[in-house]
């Protein structure tokens, strides 16, 4: 009977192991998707007119990165009116996000390497890795908006965002009055949309949340 109970115990604990195994595989994949750090060699035409002007001559990646972070954040924080009349703004910001991500990958190289060496038995520096995964998921979402994926190189992605942004910027600005009634409906629709997006995101991000929880 002792033998039987041993098997039963083994079975139950092993089942729990299966659940973890699936999660570990998911994390393995996410780590793989982080990609390898490599400096951007070719910047899109007009890039240095928008950001890091003083770095144009030597194109030093650290110099560019230092300028990019603040600029990108400011661009992402622009209001709706500004973005309507400057459609290139968010696309340029997304291009800068590629650089921002690369610099994060580089800055966290040490933690990532240490994490990989102990993983999955140990979870040393898992918080840093979790942050990188979050950033990479943001990068994925941004890329998907213009039909790119994580398999595209950062240079390809930057070129795509920048070209599209520059193209959109060349349009002729037209202003029209939006009535109060329309504005009111718009606010309601936006609110519906936000509520729907939040719930949808909670459901769809279950797996990611499990990953982030596991790496806490």
């Amino acid at each position: 009977m002792k033998k039987l109970s041993f098997y039963i115990i083994y079975f139950f604990f092993n089942t729990a192991g299966f659940a973890n195994e699936k999660l570990i595989k998911s994390i393995d994949l996410k780590i793989q998707e982080l990609g390898e750090y490599s400096e951007i060699k070719n910047y899109p035409t007009g890039f240095f007119e928008v950001v890091a002007k003083h770095c144009e001559e030597n194109k030093d990646f650290k110099c560019i990165t230092a300028d990019v972070a603040g600029k990108m954040s400011a661009m992402f924080n622009r209001g709706e009116t500004y973005n309507q009349s400057n459609p290139e703004n968010q696309l340029y910001a997304m291009a800068l996000f590629e650089i921002f991500y690369l610099s994060n990958l580089n800055n966290n190289k040490y933690y990532l390497t240490k994490f990989k060496s102990g993983w999955p038995k140990e979870k040393e520096f898992s918080k840093q890795v979790s942050n990188l995964i979050k950033l990479n998921e943001s990068r994925r979402k941004m890329r998907e908006t213009v039909g790119l994926s994580l398999s595209n190189s950062p240079e390809e992605a930057m070129n795509a965002y920048w070209n599209l942004g520059t193209f959109l910027s060349k349009g002729t600005l037209q202003k029209q009055k939006v009535s109060k009634e329309y504005q009111e409906k718009k606010n309601i629709l936006d609110s519906y949309n936000n509520s729907i997006s939040k719930l949808k995101s909670t459901i769809q991000n279950q797996e990611l949340e499990e990953i982030y929880d596991y790496l806490k």
Partner: protein, 790 residues
């Protein structure tokens, strides 16, 4: 024992609770989020109820969408079982799409108008990248639409008739998913019959009419063709623009038709006769009187008259070619006459015929008094030294070639279309004699065969080159005899040949230099001389056993004649016979089918005209290739192989037309295969918005046929229509690209994914507090709010 069971049970419960701890937490998160969502929706519903009843139809449509939100959510609940979560997700996806499409009714305060942008002028933008982005976005959009449709089916199965909601809102200007988008999804999943039948069933149930279903089916076909076309865009360069017919075909047929009006009077003196000579004879007496009156004697008058006849025929020949070219190109007789008149009035091109056109009163743009006249010509002449007027070299070359080829016929008793005629018989006799002599000399049969074949071949090559010289002289109006006679011309030509020329080498191998051969068949002096043969055989080396090729000039000319011999023409100068019937059937099939599909107008005129042009081009080129092989003495198998090789090397629109009009058949057949391909062709080009590429014939080609309405006779076309430039074509793609991008990116503040749902920048940046410097953990220090303009 009880203790053990208790222990196991406790362990079981502990483990289950351990496993479910994570999922319970997730479920709680979802339920909390649902609770917040439910509360938000209730608050928003209250807000909606407070808004006034608007008069604006767009605002009414938006209100209608608000009402539908609650109906859609009626089946939503926060239960965490997988089935319910799937249903909830479907619910939210559909709502998200609906709200996104509803938002499009609300104008933006600011918009950038891209419609007037010429991308080729923007140095910093690579158009290729823009096009690629648009294609990727479109692919992603189709994927998302597929998910949306699948969600709609799930919702319908759970009691929410979202197909009806879509249909109702569509009528109010909110198209959550259009029929075109549904078609794209179905055609992308062509193998998924269930998806198609489910969707069509749901559409029918939601009240779609049979016409709407028919349109959907048509859309599926369109999308499938478009998708195939995108995959094979390199191989499928169909455009609705006029194709330029093969110049070789048009020129060859033009010359053939012109030459068919010239005759040879008899087999002996082979003097030229026919239409221009008959016309000239009608004015000859009048001319003769004037020449005599000017004081020229009989001998001098004869030379003057010879000159006038030569130039009259030149003028007639080249003017007739202009006339026939218009007809060959599909023009009417009136257009042909008009083109000929213009050509004459403008001085006759580059043939130096202006004064002769005047002299024969063919220039109708001036008065008779203004024109160069016979009197002027006669005054210029020195009666004691009357200059011979040379005939047009172009005319004589064409005439001579046709005259030489008149010696040949084609015999087809074995089905191999062998060249025949007196000269071929002579070549055979030479071959037999060489073979017989060679074997007698001790050369083995196979080698003797090569020597014999080469001897016959060299005879034909030499005969062709020499006869071309004599026939040219006869075509000019000279006889066989005299200083300018055909015989003397051949002698002059022969003497001008280098001693080591192939013709003279073969002459030495086959004939004795001391013989005075005139190649008279009564004397059989074309047969090789025994002594010469013995001498040749004694000096044979390996190179003599290499098979001699026919001269390219002879074979090309013979092949062309053989090809043209298939053609028949009716009184209006159009192609008749079997080929003519096929051409008519092609036109009729295309026009009838297009009309049955509701397609008409210039597009069909251009397509059917192009079809005929290309049918004839392909027939002509293919036949020329096979006849070249047969003229060389090769078999049909070799001729077919050569045609196959050529067909496989076709490029551009010829590939498409060859596939459409010939397919696997040797000739056109109005069968099911043709109509299937035609259907695809018409749908692709006419209904997928390619009409932009239609060239304006008048604008693009000032010489084009200027008919207001299309005449079915205008079948072969005038060519020279410009296609779209690369920049224009790219512009068209870019315009689609821009639409695609605009459809996917909300022009407002929030960047939206291809499915229309917001990529929440907030979510994207959740790991990244807005900031100016990177923290060691990868986050950013916040940017002071003062630096950010709203």
């Amino acid at each position: 024992m009880i203790k053990i069971i208790y222990f196991i049970l406790s362990l079981f419960l502990f483990t289950i609770s351990f496993i479910n701890q994570g999922s319970a937490e997730i479920c709680k998160n979802i339920q909390d989020a649902y609770k917040d969502f439910d509360s938000d929706i209730k608050k928003l519903n209250k807000k909606v109820n407070k808004t006034k009843n608007p008069n604006d139809p767009n605002l009414q449509a938006i209100d209608e969408a608000f009402v539908q939100i609650n109906q859609i959510l009626s089946v939503a609940n926060p239960s965490c079982d997988k089935k319910n979560l799937d249903l909830l997700e479907s619910n939210l996806n559909f709502l998200s799409a609906m709200i996104d499409k509803t938002s499009k009714l609300i104008p933006n305060e600011y918009e950038k108008d891209l419609s007037k942008i010429d991308i080729s002028q923007i140095k910093e933008v690579d158009p290729q990248i823009i096009t690629e982005i648009s294609s990727s976005m479109k692919l992603r959009r189709t994927d998302n639409q597929q998910t949306l449709l699948e969600d709609m089916i799930v919702l319908k199965e759970n009691g929410v008739d979202v197909f009806k909601i879509n249909s109702d809102l569509n009528k109010k200007g909110i198209s959550i998913i259009s029929n075109e988008e549904i078609s794209e999804v179905i055609s992308k999943n062509a193998d998924d019959k269930k998806l198609k039948s489910d969707i069509i069933k749901e559409l029918k149930l939601s009240g779609a009419t049979s016409d709407e279903i028919l349109q959907l089916e048509k859309g599926i076909q369109l999308a499938s063709i478009q998708s195939e076309k995108n995959l094979k865009s390199e191989d499928n360069p169909i455009k609705i623009e006029r194709v330029k017919p093969s110049e070789k075909r048009i020129d060859s047929i033009t010359t053939l038709k012109t030459l068919s009006l010239l005759k040879i009077n008899n087999a002996d003196d082979r003097q030229p006769t026919g239409v221009p000579y008959e016309e000239f004879s009608k004015i000859e007496n009048e001319l003769s009187s004037q020449i005599k009156a000017a004081g020229f004697n009989q001998e001098q008058s004869k030379q003057v008259m010879f000159n006038l006849r030569t130039k009259y025929v030149d003028v007639w020949f080249h003017a007739r070619e202009v006339y026939e070219k218009v007809l060959t190109n599909g023009g009417t007789i009136e257009q042909a006459v008009s083109a000929e008149r213009d050509w004459l009035n403008q001085g006759g091109g580059n043939f130096g015929l202006k004064k002769w056109i005047d002299l024969f009163n063919k220039n109708t743009s001036t008065t008779i008094e203004q024109r160069y006249s016979l009197k002027d010509y006669l005054n210029e002449l020195n009666p004691n030294q009357i200059k011979v007027e040379l005939a047009s070299a172009d005319r004589i070359a064409k005439e001579a070639q046709a005259r030489v080829l008149s010696y040949f016929t084609v015999e087809d008793p074995t089905g191999e279309r062998r060249s025949a005629g007196k000269i071929v018989d002579e070549a055979k006799a030479i071959s037999n004699k060489v073979k017989e002599s060679a074997i007698k000399y001790g050369i083995n049969a196979s080698k003797a065969e090569i020597l014999a074949s080469n001897a016959a071949m060299s005879y034909l090559n030499t005969w062709y080159a020499g006869t071309l010289v004599s026939e040219a002289q006869l075509a000019k109006g000279y006889t066989w005899e005299g200083v300018n006679g055909a015989d003397q011309a051949v002698m002059n030509w022969y003497n001008s040949l280098a001693e080591d020329s192939e013709i003279k080498k073969w002459d030495a191998r086959l004939y004795n230099p001391s013989d005075d051969n005139d190649f008279n068949d009564d004397e059989l002096d074309y047969l090789p001389n025994d002594e010469a043969l013995q001498k040749w055989f004694s000096k044979l080396n390996d190179s003599d056993f290499t098979k001699l090729n026919p001269s390219d000039q002879r074979i090309n000319s013979e092949a062309l004649a053989r090809t043209l011999s298939y053609l028949k023409f009716n009184d209006q100068g159009n192609i008749a016979g079997d080929l003519g019937k096929e051409v008519e059937e092609i036109q009729k099939s295309i026009i009838d089918y297009a009309t049955s599909q509701g397609i008409k107008g210039k597009e069909i005129e251009i397509i059917s005209t192009n079809a005929v042009k290309r049918y004839l081009d392909i027939w002509f080129e293919g036949t020329l290739i096979s006849e070249t092989e047969l003229a060389k003495g090769n078999t049909w198998k070799e001729a077919d192989a050569a045609v196959d090789k050529w067909a496989n090397s076709l490029t551009g629109d010829m590939v498409v037309w060859a596939n459409l009009l010939y397919g696997d058949n040797e000739r056109f057949k109005a069968d099911d295969q043709f109509f299937t391909k035609l259907s695809n062709y018409l749908l692709v080009d006419l209904e997928l918005g390619k009409t932009k590429s239609l060239a304006d014939p008048k604008k693009d080609n000032p010489n084009s046929i200027s008919k207001n309405t299309w005449n079915p006779k205008d079948a072969i076309g005038t060519g020279n229509f410009k296609g779209l430039s690369a920049a224009e074509a790219l512009g068209s793609n870019l315009s689609a690209a821009v639409k695609e991008i605009q459809a996917s990116l909300n022009s407002g503040a929030v960047i939206r994914g291809a499915d229309g749902s917001a990529i929440s920048v907030e979510a994207a940046l959740s790991s990244m507090p807005a900031g100016g410097k990177i923290n060691p953990d990868g986050t950013l220090e916040p940017v002071p709010s003062t630096t950010v303009n709203p």
